[in-house]
Symmetry: C2
Subunit: 722 residues, 2 copies
């Protein structure tokens, strides 16, 4: 059969493998079981080319010794019983049997132990297995996550790893590249390279097992859990010593997802509407429907505005209608500013009017213990194909259209960052920070209860929105993590996607659950899947905001060589720490470049990296060294450490740096430059000036500029640009 | 002998133990060796009561079997040779020998291997050792660090731990409490509690080994390295299976340190002088000596000011002198503003004038490749007992005396934080931040090259300075880490000591070395010793500054129960994450308290912790819940999450919170309260107002307020107040 298989074309081989596994699973299902026996596990592994030890099942002690003789000693004996899942616990495993006598005796012992453990257990025999020796024990497995679906896992075997939880995940199916990245993705990855003179593992063989496991669970959604534990990884191969497969025949298939085209078409109408209806528009100051009207008008929106009100003829100078159905023209977006209990009826009218999007500001739904109210509007949305934003949100801003579809204050600093938040409070923090830090935004969107529109819909819209250069999202959960990750993987190739995942810690997750009714997932899974999808993860609210502000204005670096040029040696040390903390590489300075820098700095300055120009230097020393740093193509990014002195005051430094960067840009030398400014309060003005001119700069911080540069690098690496 | 020992008094026993070890070491020294043989190691362990397995040295195969028979099988055989340190590598170790035959054969094998490895090695026999089984393999060791001296180390045994570097250090001698904290101080500490049904280790026995090792290396400074690897830790005991001791008979004793009284007397004269001389005072604007004079005068210093100048009769209205020796009165502090090459001569005159302190602003010493210039002034300082601050510094500020002994701008925001920096650039960042954030300071001190006065001198001064409530230090190295740690351990019991250790990473350490010529130590050692000394470690420059600003204004919490009260559910989730990140504990809400909070919040708000009062609430909901939070003695600290709404605008919230806190303070209910404000830019003013009134508050950040609270808690725990 093996030979016949080799002669088949790969796709036939894959089909044959699937047929083989299907037969096994069908039998298990027919027998009403939910887990595979060891021999069944072996059949499945064989079908998918996952290496397992030689083995056979013996029905008697003599059969066991015959099998053991044929595969060579030592061997392992294991009970085969559909009723005993935890074999070790049942005394159903004996290892290291070195002779026929030991095997015969072991056979009897195991049977006795099994009977003792569970007198009623059906015993199908004792498995005799080639015992694997040496190598590194690792674990390859797969789980089914509520949000991300099938995930493949990899870790080192052994008690210590269980204690340290040193394991890494990827969405299945995993590519070979994903699998290789998993080998480097565990804390103890050095172990795989061989320690204390031990052999390195065969990385290709190990990656192959990971890829095949991930393919297997993707092909068969009913495989809810799979464990190869341990896999013995040696310099020659990777063989799974034990296979455990658990099935869930009731697993529901993933609901069909909308096509990207469908999402983009609807989102474009909603986010860039030609006409907006305000349901619950009001002339009375203090009402939400009044704030929304004012924001639309005062924000400068140029499209049609239709106030909807049961009685009024006119609101704030606009003709009012009793229902959206009375409006003569097409409506793209309906903003709701009415109490929760009235939403369903008004939404149905929107459906009849064929409005593609509803912005549901009202609270009082799932978050307030009224899930049935939310279910009702979700059904209406589905029936009429209305996309729902919210409920329980502040609304949204889309600055290129001067559109403030919100009851919060109007926001008008245009720029290229698109932000969203699940929580209204965080949305307000985004608005305040944006205004304060002069961070231009293209959009700010509240997602609230996410009854329909969620992060991946926004990703699809911002992907094709030329006004957006970076996408920054705050979320507490992802209702469909897989859809998000797939969208992010595609979008992050083009634009940085930055995510602050709240509820990272178990305490945070509990708070999130009480806040939104959504159960937050295991944070390590988010961590790994975000990485797999090219998402840059922000660790704090301030980081989300600073990354959104700084990442889009930095050019993409062309390589990993980072150089620090500093006037303050002390800043150089702290900046070096930050470089390491943020996964960046301090360039190893080539001798000729070192000499070139030396010419510009005093003899007691330090060459190497950081280039320490020392504190008392005039502006031209900064100018000369930074120009050289931009000019030499071996250097890919610059971190500047400025020290406030009388000789080179803050604004002199700032203007000069902008000049040099502009001068070199004109010569085609474009590199990311960030700056840390140490000095008296004048450095704040200088930092703002630098930021306004394309150099993310921070006063009194040696960390923030490097964090922003690090985020740019993380994105560029994930997007395959480095 | 053992019985005789038991009858002795403990101090006699200790003396006898020291005598025993002294005899062993003397013999090793006499023989010109620098390491102990295994039997010598056993003697040393026996003397100090460190448990080791039964063992003996055999000179023949038959002697080996006789020994093995007497101690029981299995046994281990090990070569005994002063010329073979790495026994395993030499094939000089055989384990698990189960019979007399195996032992006899093993004896011959080991001898053959040893000859093969090193034909010239002197073979003293083969050690036969009881083989320890089961338990958890751990490592206890000791090293000699250039800055901290003797350190005791603890970690788990095995390859994986070597890879993960999961090891923890304490200064020796370690107390029992130190030793117990080490058991919890490794990443994989769960291992010691028993996993997968394994037994927990005997923590007392393990701690005992650690304490004894730390005492041994403290008693014998010539023991430069010691390794007990592995120690088998079981539920009953902890036995060291292998002992390795390396000696350094050339080790220099630690130089005598000044008494605290001596340090404080000198530092008080320097920092709070009755008279200051400015050597190199100048009337010419732009000169350093001019800036120093102006800062002294304009800063409002009320003591005597004596300008020293070779020619001038008067400078800025003050009578000038040619030399300090010409000044009629006593001088406490001489500020140097002359080039490096003139310092030595002027310093000698200061010595002759019996001035106790010199503030050496000039650069051009060790940092500029002129170590001999620095050596020269250090010698003069020693000769005349002048304490030297610097050289290569900005000087210092001591605001209670209105003293600005610096060439930087005058600084006048008085407060209770004393800051210092090794680097001038960082000093300027401290000044800028302090002014910008309105952080009141008692002192800002530049330490620069630290030729004499360093961090521990400042600790001694600020300890007894009633104007200082918190001490925050930036350093790149510690010239005498032990003196620092001992001072910090004492001082941190009274006042928080916060340290930003730059050069944490290897890249940072390299930059530090090029910057100051000081070799930065292993960061894990700093981490652990700081903890042992009660030092709160800042992870970034901004953290150092924010901790210095916030920690002194927070009252000390009386317990670990932290409660979050938030208007924004989203902030509650992020604040919960921060609580975990900063080592704080979210209080488990007792049912009666939960009910009490529920009365104040809307039915759809979330009770529990965080208390989510929801966003649309009026001021009284914040007031009621925060008052309850302050009133109930089971709650020890509050974190507030504010959400900007029209109903409760930022300044209304801020004033109200200050009112409630004041009201409860009047009733004796004093607790730390911090706040995170999410909203439009008005929250910045509200945050500043809150901060000014004792509530550290941050706009657009859910991390910073919790970090500050976390720092207060870390300090309180280290000081034994919790």
């Amino acid at each position: 059969m093996a030979e016949a298989a080799l002669k088949r074309a790969p796709e036939d081989y894959a089909a044959a493998a699937r047929d083989e596994v299907r037969r096994v699973l069908d039998r298990v299902k027919a027998e009403g079981r939910t887990s595979l026996t060891a021999p069944e596990g072996k059949l499945v592994c064989d079908a998918y080319g996952i290496p397992v030890p030689k083995e056979g099942v013996a029905g008697s002690a003599s059969e066991a010794t015959r099998l053991a003789d044929s595969m060579g000693y030592p061997v392992v004996l294991k009970i085969v019983s559909p009723d005993i899942l935890h074999k070790t616990e049942a005394g159903g495993v004996l290892v290291g049997l070195r002779s026929a006598e030991e095997v015969a005796k072991g056979y009897d012992t195991i049977l006795a132990n099994a009977k003792n453990y569970n007198a009623g257990a059906r015993i199908e025999g004792v498995q005799v297995q080639q015992m694997l020796k040496g190598g590194t024990e690792v674990i390859v497995g797969a789980i089914t996550d509520g949000s991300f679906g099938k995930l493949v896992a990899f870790g080192l075997g052994g008690v210590l790893v269980e204690v340290l939880k040193d394991i890494t995940f990827r969405m299945a199916p995993a590519t070979r590249q994903d699998a290789m990245s998993m080998l480097d993705g565990i804390q103890a990855h050095e172990m795989l390279k061989g320690v204390r003179g031990g052999d390195p593992v065969d990385r290709e063989a190990l990656a192959d097992v990971i890829v095949k496991v991930s393919q297997l669970v993707s092909d068969f959604p009913e495989i809810s859990e799979l464990d190869l534990n341990p896999v013995f990884a040696t310099k020659a191969d990777a063989i799974a010593a034990d296979v455990r497969i658990v099935l869930d025949f009731d697993a529901k298939p993933r609901p069909a997802v909308r096509s990207n085209e469908e999402i983009v078409t609807a989102m474009n109408r909603i986010m860039r509407p030609k006409a907006v209806a305000v349901i619950g528009a009001s002339a009375e100051a203090g009402k939400i429907g009044n704030s929304v009207m004012k924001n639309l008008i005062n924000g400068g929106y140029k499209g049609q505005i239709y106030p909807i009100h049961p009685k009024a003829d006119e609101i704030l100078g606009y003709k009012a209608y009793k229902s959206v159905k009375d409006v003569p023209g097409v409506i793209d977006t309906a903003v709701f500013a009415i109490p929760a209990k009235f939403v369903a009826a008004a939404l149905t009218e929107c459906g009849e009017k064929q409005i593609p999007g509803a912005v549901l500001i009202p609270s009082g739904f799932a978050e307030a213990g009224e899930p049935q109210l939310q279910d009702e509007i979700v059904e209406i949305g589905k029936k009429y194909n209305i996309r729902l934003m919210g409920p329980n949100i502040y609304g949204f801003y889309y600055t290129p259209e001067n559109l403030c579809a919100t009851f919060c204050t109007a926001y008008d600093v245009k720029g290229s960052a698109a932000l969203s938040s699940q929580s209204g409070g965080i949305g307000m923090a985004i608005i305040g920070f944006s205004r304060s830090a002069k961070m231009g935004v293209s959009a700010i969107v509240g997602l609230g209860n996410k009854s329909d529109i969620d992060e991946d819909d926004l990703l699809a819209f911002f992907e094709q929105d030329d006004n957006t250069k970076v996408i920054a999202q705050h979320c507490e959960d992802l209702k469909d993590g897989r859809a998000f990750a797939e969208a992010a993987k595609r979008v992050s190739k083009k634009k940085p996607v930055i995510v602050l995942k709240a509820g990272r810690t178990s305490a945070g997750a509990r708070a999130a659950a009480s806040h939104t009714g959504a159960l937050a997932g295991n944070d390590k899974i988010y961590e790994d899947v975000f990485k797999q999808a090219g998402v840059v993860r922000a660790r704090s609210l301030r980081q989300l905001l600073e990354f959104a502000r700084g990442v889009p204005i930095l050019p993409t670096p062309k390589g990993e060589n980072v150089l620090i040029i500093t006037g303050a040696g002390g800043s150089g040390v702290l900046l070096s720490d930050s470089v390491v903390d943020n996964g960046l590489s301090l360039m190893q300075m080539p001798p000729d470049l070192d000499e070139a820098f030396k010419k510009f700095i005093p003899p007691f300055g330090a060459s190497g990296n950081p280039v320490d120009i020392t504190g008392g230097e005039p502006p031209r020393t900064y100018q000369n060294t930074v120009r050289l740093g931009l000019e030499d193509d071996r250097i890919h990014a610059l971190i500047l450490g400025y020290w406030h002195t009388i000789v080179t005051p803050p604004m002199v430094f700032a203007r000069l740096m902008v000049e040099v960067v502009e001068e070199m840009k004109a010569k085609g030398k474009v590199k990311p430059v960030v700056a840390s400014l140490a000095g008296d309060i004048e450095v704040e003005e200088a930092s703002q000036y630098l930021y306004d001119h394309g150099i993310p700069a921070y006063a009194y911080s040696t960390e923030l500029p490097v964090e922003v540069l690090g985020a740019k690098y993380k994105w560029a690496r994930g997007a395959g640009l480095l």
